[in-house]
Symmetry: C2
Subunit: 201 residues, 2 copies
């Protein structure tokens, strides 16, 4: 059995949301229709507006409805540091961790020649011209520690060879609070290769 | 840190959906903005339309954008049977189980005097006039097996006293496929009190 055509269509369309299957879609649709029509109207409206208006920051390519995002406009960020991340969510995670005071550049993905995603698709031409403007002393490559993320980092590093910009990347090693027993082999050998002098400070 | 005001507003508004917390809202918003703007637009549009147009069936009060729902219009349903349920989801569960061929009446809730929900709020006046029309021989009370559901069933039964309509309710007992060991005491004693002659058919 099914509901009316329009309710069925709502159930089906709700499944564009990640992690929403048939049961969750039904719960969501009935919740909105039975208990919170006002909230649903607000959601539909805000969603349409955000999808219409939110684009990429002209400077760092993060999501924003403004021409240049707040972080890029902020006078309190160190303009000599540029952190390259794959997605706005990564940028948010780094900001939430605190400590980093520089600026960002968001790739919105990684190089993936098989999927037809080349350097221009992830804004590397824009990154190059940003570096050409001068003022940036260090680029921190914070792509994901995956094969594709590493490949992208290496590609960017190769592009920057010969320039005066210092290149760095996030440290790889055992995560804090974990137990060595459960750390995977790849991470463990990275942590061994990258071992540091013990400091008692 | 936060995203731009409009993205933040989307994150916040997505939480009107049941079961969606801050992390899920972020994943949904970024998915729509980064990967599926078209799907998002479709969702916003269908959601707005459904919330605008879907109302209650004039006959059975289920959700439908039509005046009278498909099930009520169907000539293949037994008009002598009327099953009273608390929500459209309950109606769907019964339909999916198969077997029942009668019609429905949806209360959209249960009596709850403390919350100011009285007989009229759950359509009992409408139920009464539907029964007055005649033609219905049996009313099956399929409210939830909770205190409120039971109270609502009793209230409806009291209202129908003296009428010629036969009243029944769903059988209570141990659920199929379960293990007795894990069935709660209340259900077990119900199953004992309602025990039936063993049939070898």
């Amino acid at each position: 059995m099914s509901f009316s055509p329009l309710v069925d269509r709502l159930l089906e369309t709700l499944r564009v949301l990640p992690g929403v299957g048939p049961k969750t879609a039904q719960r969501m649709a009935l919740h909105l229709l039975e208990r919170d029509r006002e909230g649903g109207h607000r959601l539909a409206e805000v969603m349409a507006r955000a999808l219409e208006e939110v684009g990429y920051c002209r400077r760092c390519r993060t999501l924003t409805e403004e021409e240049v995002c707040e972080l890029c406009r902020s006078a309190r960020r160190d303009e000599r540091l540029l952190c390259v991340v794959e997605s706005p969510a990564d940028m948010l995670a780094i900001e939430d961790a605190g400590g980093y005071q520089g600026q960002y550049f968001v790739l919105h993905g990684h190089l993936s020649p098989l999927d037809g995603i080349g350097p221009e698709d992830i804004g590397l031409d824009q990154l190059a011209s940003r570096l050409d403007e001068g003022g940036i002393e260090e680029v921190i490559l914070a792509t994901n520690p995956t094969v594709e993320g590493e490949a992208t980092a290496h590609y960017i590093a190769a592009q920057l060879e010969g320039s005066e910009v210092r290149l760095s990347r996030l440290a790889y090693g055992v995560p804090m609070g974990g137990e060595l027993e459960y750390v995977d082999g790849g991470t463990l050998s990275r942590a061994f290769n990258g071992r540091l002098p013990f400091s008692t400070e």
